[in-house]
């Protein structure tokens, strides 16, 4: 790898740090990246599925996941981990990601990770060939391609410091604040940087100066390098060795800060945790001298660094870097309150999931109500066998006579003189766990049983333990001998048209067991619909997780609500036409059992 990041690099951001992520997306928009640099966010305690961010003037949604594993599975191309966990958890997060694999580099921002943990994490990454940047760092940047989190600061500062496009300097520092400062100095005195890394201020960091500089040596965009070191440690000597051995041939400018430390005993901690000299060779002065002797360009003081950079850069006589086209992020943006992902009325003609209404409405389009449901509910074009099945379900559940609770409610309300919509909703409001809910319940429990490999007997025991009758099993009068023809119809349709029906096949084995106990414990129409919907989704390629989500969000019930609305409206209109009077329930049909209220003292 000669370049740390490219314009296609995408990251998984651990912790929903909105400001930092927004800065990355502002950068992406400014440099006109094709994809956002953050592909996924890991937010273990969030219940949300995405977070909204601005992308230029518009907004985009970045998916949220509870675990790194889930994020990586969903976005396998994202090979950078930006670990913004606290010092308490940063180690675990890194180690887990190393275990998952597929990352080329990881940046760890936490300061003060226990030293043994930091060492173990760094060593494990090294063995796996993963570059660690940090801990205790603000990150790294490949200008014009990818920027980590907050590095470079605000977008204004980034453009001022020429961090929006590749220059020719390779920059390595310990300090994050001075990284930014150096970028500014390099922009003023040279042509900006090609790649920059702040390696981090803790005593034990992953990649050190030499690791990054050897990569920069191979990167043709880097023409010279700047190293800003600190008092403490011996990392600078590795760079000196590399220059002596010829492993680094590009010009290097370097300065170690902390020359003041010589005036005080080791009790004074200057700067970062890593900045403390344990031997003469670790003092800033000693290192500056050694680097100068090795042929590195070392200024007389930090104040003279800008002039030194200017001189080395000018001597290289590099061609001017053309200024690329940039997009400008609007300064005033407002977040949208609502999100719509199913239909759009902004164009000439309103669309259902991208299809103009006229393209699905009339019979000549060949589209039916099942197609409209698949577009508006699932944002997909389902094949004909599936849309036909949906229509079959809707037709099958449209009505079941006036006696069921919903129809009864609708009729009573209509007779009270209320409107169609008022009467309708009183009917709809009865739909739930006891009325129509068996569709949901059957799908949920049968799927659970099959997913967990429960044989029918084990399933029955499981339901017994839960203390609930099996949803979707049982009918008031129908039995195997006297089958429910609606069920027969659905099953025949599925047998002929579904690619396969694994859950129904399983449910039939359960039915064989329950009907052996009692004749009317058949798979009823609710159960058949719920179970076949699962089979339909499976055949359409949905993951088990997505199907579980459909069940949990009440999608199955929605088919019942949609179908039964037809019937309820029928009952309401029926009442209106008959002009039936206000209904009063006969008192003879009520058991009165009223006691005198006891007084509580």
């Amino acid at each position: 790898m000669e370049q740390l990041y490219t314009k296609d690099t995408q990251a998984i951001f651990w912790n929903n740090n909105k400001t930092a992520i927004q800065r990355m997306l502002d950068y992406d928009y400014t440099i006109q990246r094709k994809t956002p640099s953050v592909a996924a966010i890991v937010a273990p305690t969030s219940g949300n599925k995405f977070e909204k961010f601005f992308y230029g003037p518009d907004e985009v949604m970045i998916p949220l996941f509870k675990t790194t594993a889930a994020a990586k599975a969903a976005q396998p191309q994202a090979d950078v981990l930006l670990n913004f966990a606290s010092f308490r958890t940063a180690y675990d997060v890194t180690m887990e990601a190393l275990e998952i694999g597929g990352f080329s580099s990881m940046m760890i921002t936490a300061e003060g990770i226990p030293e043994r943990l930091a060492r173990k994490m760094n060593q494990t990454a090294r063995e796996k060939g993963v570059i660690i940047i940090g801990p205790a760092t603000v990150g790294a940047i490949t200008p014009g391609a990818f920027k980590v989190a907050n590095i470079g600061g605000t977008i204004t500062n980034i453009v001022n410091s020429k961090l929006h496009r590749a220059g020719s300097c390779g920059l390595v520092t310990r300090s994050g604040g001075l990284f930014n400062e150096l970028s500014n100095i390099i922009a003023i005195n040279a042509d900006g940087i090609a790649e920059g890394v702040a390696i981090g201020g803790d005593r034990f960091v992953g990649s050190v100066f030499i690791d990054n500089m050897l990569r920069m040596e191979k990167n043709p965009a880097v023409k010279y390098m700047i190293l800003l070191g600190e008092v403490g440690g011996t990392e600078e000597y590795k760079v000196i060795d590399a220059i002596k051995s010829g492993a680094i041939t590009k010009p290097v400018i370097a300065w170690c800060i902390g020359t003041i430390a010589k005036y005080y005993d080791s009790g004074v901690q200057f700067g970062h945790a890593g900045a403390s000299a344990n031997a003469d060779s670790e003092t800033a002065e000693y290192k500056n001298k050694a680097m100068a002797e090795a042929g590195i360009h070392v200024p007389a003081s930090f104040n003279e660094l800008p002039a030194m950079i200017n001189k080395v850069f000018t001597d290289l006589k590099l061609a001017d870097i053309p200024e690329p086209e940039m997009s400008v992020c609007p300064t005033v943006r407002s977040s949208k309150e609502f999100i719509c992902t199913i239909s759009d009325d902004r164009g000439d003609e309103a669309t259902y999931a991208g299809f103009p209404i006229s393209s699905v409405a009339t019979p000549d389009t060949g589209k039916g109500i099942g197609d409209v449901v698949s577009l508006l509910w699932f944002k997909k074009q389902y094949p004909k066998w599936a849309t036909d099945f949906i229509e079959t379900v809707i037709k099958t559940v449209a009505d079941h006579g006036p006696a069921v609770s919903g129809a009864h409610n609708a009729k009573v309300t209509a007779r009270a003189g209320k409107s169609v919509v008022e009467s309708l909703v009183t009917g709809l409001l009865t739909i739930g766990p006891r009325f129509g809910g068996a569709i949901d319940g059957a799908a949920e429990h049968f799927k659970y049983a099959e997913d967990n490999g429960l044989d029918p007997k084990a399933f029955l025991n499981h339901m017994k333990k839960l203390g609930i009758p099996i949803p979707g099993i049982g009918h008031r009068i129908k039995s195997l001998k006297n089958p429910d023809l609606r069920v027969t119809g659905l099953m025949n349709y599925a047998a002929e048209n579904f690619p396969s029906t694994p859950l129904l096949d399983y449910a039939r084995t359960v039915e064989a067991l329950t009907t052996s106990k009692k004749e009317n414990l058949i798979l009823n129409v609710d159960g058949t619909i719920g179970i076949l919907m699962v089979d339909m989704w499976r055949a359409l390629g949905y993951s088990e997780e997505e199907i579980n989500e459909f069940i949990a969000s009440g999608t199955l019930n929605s088919f019942f609500i949609l179908g039964r609305t037809i019937g309820f409206i029928g009952h309401v209109l029926d009442e209106k036409r008959l002009a039936m009077p206000m209904y009063r329930h006969p008192m003879t049909d009520i058991l009165y059992d009223v006691q005198v209220a006891e007084e509580i003292k």
Binding site: T19, A20, R23, F87, R88, E111, G112, I113, P114, E115, R116, L117, R119, K120, Q123, T124, E127, V138, N150, I151, G152, G153, T154, N157, N160, S161, T173, S175, G176, G177, L178, F179, N180, E181, N184, I185, G201, D202, L228, E230, V231, I257, G258, T259, I260, Y263, G267, V268, Q269, F270, G271, H272, A273, A275, S276, A284, S301, F302, N303, P306
Partner: protein, 445 residues
């Protein structure tokens, strides 16, 4: 600083607490008490009966070595091994009643360099343990480069320190080494001078020691010497440093451990302690070291790197005699935290005027911030100005500001307005000015 020295008493207490886990085949009596004066020792004897029953050894426990050569180990009254409780108590009272001079380096038995002079405040008292010189051993462990290294020797005490290269066997382990690898390698590298009959015992003790060093997050751990008599162990002297960043994981393992100021070091001022306390409570970073509180140049610099660059520059241009403090605030402190930090500094710098009658200088510096909101932190500084304006004027304080980063224009504008409104001298610069150029400007005034 991540690595912090702890008292010998605490080091022993930590090992004793986990003794059975790391040294199941050995016994350690853990007869040791730490006291500050003679009456505390007598009080301790009411519960620790061995203090009355055994003859004793007493020595200061204040993070310095060479106590024997400094004449600060009490092990004899008339003859070695006859120190009674009463004698130990009176010796402690005597040694703690006045300042003591302690030399940290010796050439043979002759002290070299200047002594540190300070009061002895903490003593450790233990039973006198008669033993043969041949029963003394040395073991220590620390991190060198990327590896953990164990040092073992068949000789303890002065001998090992003075003949380090010949007498010490060192074995290095990568951080990822397994228990089995470590045990195997230690067994294979027991110093040749350890008697053959004791080699296996010695190896087992060192394996347990090294495991304790690793698992209890010691940054440095030394027992010099330990006495091994069969399976009975005495820890005669210990030196230890903990990696305090591991403190959150080691609450139970370490117990109530203290990080004392070393003997001869000035005690931390209440201001420094207050900043340390605030630092421990925030995710941001607040650091303060007082170098010379009567000096005239004070720095309030944002960022671990930038603060060092400012200190370097002041030392280069003005010399260190004029530099009062070193410190930094970073990591996005809140307005309140910044106000507290600024007030602490302002309070210190306005206490006395410059003895030479010059005005004082406050450098409010910083690089171009990555994410710290400059306006927000400057609001804290402005609030502190409002409290201290009169005192600042009384010491003729001139303020020089240089900062960049998120919201810096507003921050700079606000601080300028506030200083002007309060009648304070201020010069304000942004990222177009070189980061440390304000030091030059301040000194040229």
């Amino acid at each position: 600083m991540a690595q912090k020295a702890i008292r010998e008493y605490d080091a022993k207490s930590i090992l004793a607490k986990h003794w059975d886990k790391y040294f199941p085949d050995f016994t350690y009596a853990y007869e040791t008490v730490m006291v500050q004066n003679g009456s505390e020792l007598k009080e301790a004897a009411k519960t620790a009966s061995w203090l009355n029953e055994k003859t004793l050894v007493a020595k200061p426990d204040m993070l310095f070595g060479k106590r024997g050569k400094n004449g600060l180990v009490l092990f004899k009254d008339a003859k070695p091994g006859d120190v009674s409780l009463a004698k130990a108590a009176s010796w402690i009272d005597e040694k703690s009643s006045s300042d003591q001079s302690v030399y940290f380096s010796f050439d043979g038995d002759t002290p070299t360099g200047e002594p540190s002079v300070d009061r002895l405040t903490h003593f450790v008292v233990e039973p006198f343990t008669p033993h043969d010189q041949s029963e003394e051993y040395y073991v220590s462990a620390t991190c060198v480069g990327d590896d953990d290294v164990i040092y073992m020797s068949a000789e303890g005490g002065m001998e090992v320190e003075e003949g380090w290269d010949e007498k010490v066997t060192e074995v290095a382990f990568p951080i990822t080494a397994t228990e089995e690898e470590i045990a195997e390698k230690i067994r294979a590298n027991v110093p040749a001078d350890v008697a053959d009959k004791d080699k296996a015992q010695f190896a087992e003790f060192c394996i347990g020691f090294f495991r304790a060093y690793r698992e209890l997050n010691f940054a440095y751990l030394e027992i010099n010497p330990f006495v091994m008599q069969g399976n009975k162990i005495e820890l005669l002297d210990m030196v230890a440093k903990l990696d305090d960043t591991a403190g959150f994981m080691m609450v139970d393992e370490w117990g109530a451990v203290e990080y004392p100021t070393a003997f001869g070091m000035e005690a931390k001022s209440p201001e420094v302690e207050a900043i340390e306390e605030a630092d421990a409570k925030t995710g941001a970073s607040l650091k303060l070291t007082l170098l010379k509180p009567e000096a005239r140049i004070w720095t309030m610099v944002a960022g671990g790197g930038a603060s060092v660059v400012y200190a370097d520059t002041i030392a280069d241009m003005a010399g260190i005699d004029d530099l009062a403090n070193y410190g930094e605030y970073s990591g996005g402190p809140t307005t309140g935290e910044t106000k507290f930090y600024a007030e602490t500094l302002l309070d210190l710098m306005t206490r006395e005027p410059d003895p030479q009658g010059r005005g004082k200088v406050m450098i409010i510096g910083g690089a171009i911030a990555n994410f710290t909101d400059v306006a927000k932190t400057f609001t804290g500084i402005i609030q502190a100005f409002e409290e201290y304006a009169e005192k600042m004027k009384a010491v003729d304080l001139k303020i020089y500001v240089r900062r960049g980063g998120p919201n810096y224009e507003k921050g700079l504008r606000d601080i300028k307005e506030a200083a002007d409104r309060l009648g304070l001298y201020i010069e304000v610069y942004g990222p177009e000015t070189h980061v440390t150029d304000i030091v030059r400007m301040a000194l040229e005034k």
